[in-house]
Amino acid sequence: MPIPEPAIIARGVHRRFGAVAALAGVDFEMAPNEVVLLLGPNGAGKTTLLRCLAGLIRPTHGSVRVLGHDLARNPSARGALGLLSHHAQVYDDLTPRENLQFAAALHGITAPEAHITRALAAVALTDRADQPVRGFSRGLLQRLAIARATLHDPPVLLLDEPFTGLDSPAADALRTRIAHERAAGRAILCVTHDPRELWDLATRVVVLVAGQVRLDVARPANLDAFRDDYARLLAA
């Protein structure tokens, strides 16, 4: 299906690390106001794909575009994107608030205070906002990472296993958040191993296996049916 004005384009993306071919020719597009679930076995290349799209690493071959920009070559356009990775990207010696203030400064957000307070409230970190991050529990750290990655309301969001370590209230909050973003016409690409986490909000499902797209369909109606197909796909 041809998509009008795509938010993300990946064309024939290859990426190898030494002997390992993490990505072996990924072709993928997504439009704004899509919520794409990116599934795939461990080591399939999901994280690598996200890092390529974000411009943190360059494809060995192929090209990536986010809102028409190659972020690796064109840093000034990076504000368009938010990446929630496996790492929190914060400083242990600063408090959550200070970490967000720093991020805000780099994003050139003007008058950030109100903004930051809201972001902290959104992940229920208000009461920990002024304690140093060092010693935060895994889930608290993940919440801060979410606030950090989405602070500048980017039109394109890449989420790598965003529900990791979140307790159920926090997970629900994140789902609501994603629902809003979707309504606001953002493009959201979310890596997960448990499609249940975001099934109802997803518009499309993409399965990556061994660095290649094996399945790219509009979200099926029936989750259980899909999970059987998925299991069969991986077994093959």
Partner: protein, 225 residues
Amino acid sequence: MSVLRPALAIAVKDLRIEWRHRTALLTATVFAVLVLLIFVFSRDAGSVSLATIAPSVLWVALALASLVALNRAFLLEREHSALDGILLTPAPRAALFWGKWLANLVFVLVVQAVAFPLWVLFFNVPASAALVLLAGVAVLTAIGFTAVGTVFSAMAVRTRFAELLLPVLLLPFMIPPVFFATQFTVRLLSDRPAGELWGWIRLLLLYDVVFLMVATLLFPVVVDE
């Protein structure tokens, strides 16, 4: 996006983290003094007078202390791969360099500010106007060290054992300025004509200009893949 604002934000962030628990600063200075000491004790009091080794000791100590200081620069970007966080923002790469460099320079200067007077004290260097000149030279070396060091520590941090790799990369680049500075010091303390001194300062200036430029140019290559 402007360079200045993010650069300052980065420098302030670094210095704030250091300031939070002054451990790094404290240790770097104590380290400098200990290097002074280990020299004194590793010399044979019989054959080598303190005056003769004073210049070498000063510059070797300052060089090693800067090394230690530079190490921390990108180490704190490593935990939770915070560096990615910076690279994901539209802040220009130049801003990252200038910010880091500024923080490093301040840090090294503070260390020098403590170590230098102690050197004067321990080696009974005659207090005179010459010392002001010497302090100026120290600043010049600091500028050069930190320029090169900022680039290298950004490289080193991507590797395991950054703290080990940095010295090897950086020390060769420290040899020329250390050499110039020592020669300058020797002549200054045996108060030779200003003409002789000026030559060495010019060399230091040259080194600083060249490597500040090179560093600024190459830094983006290092941080961007």
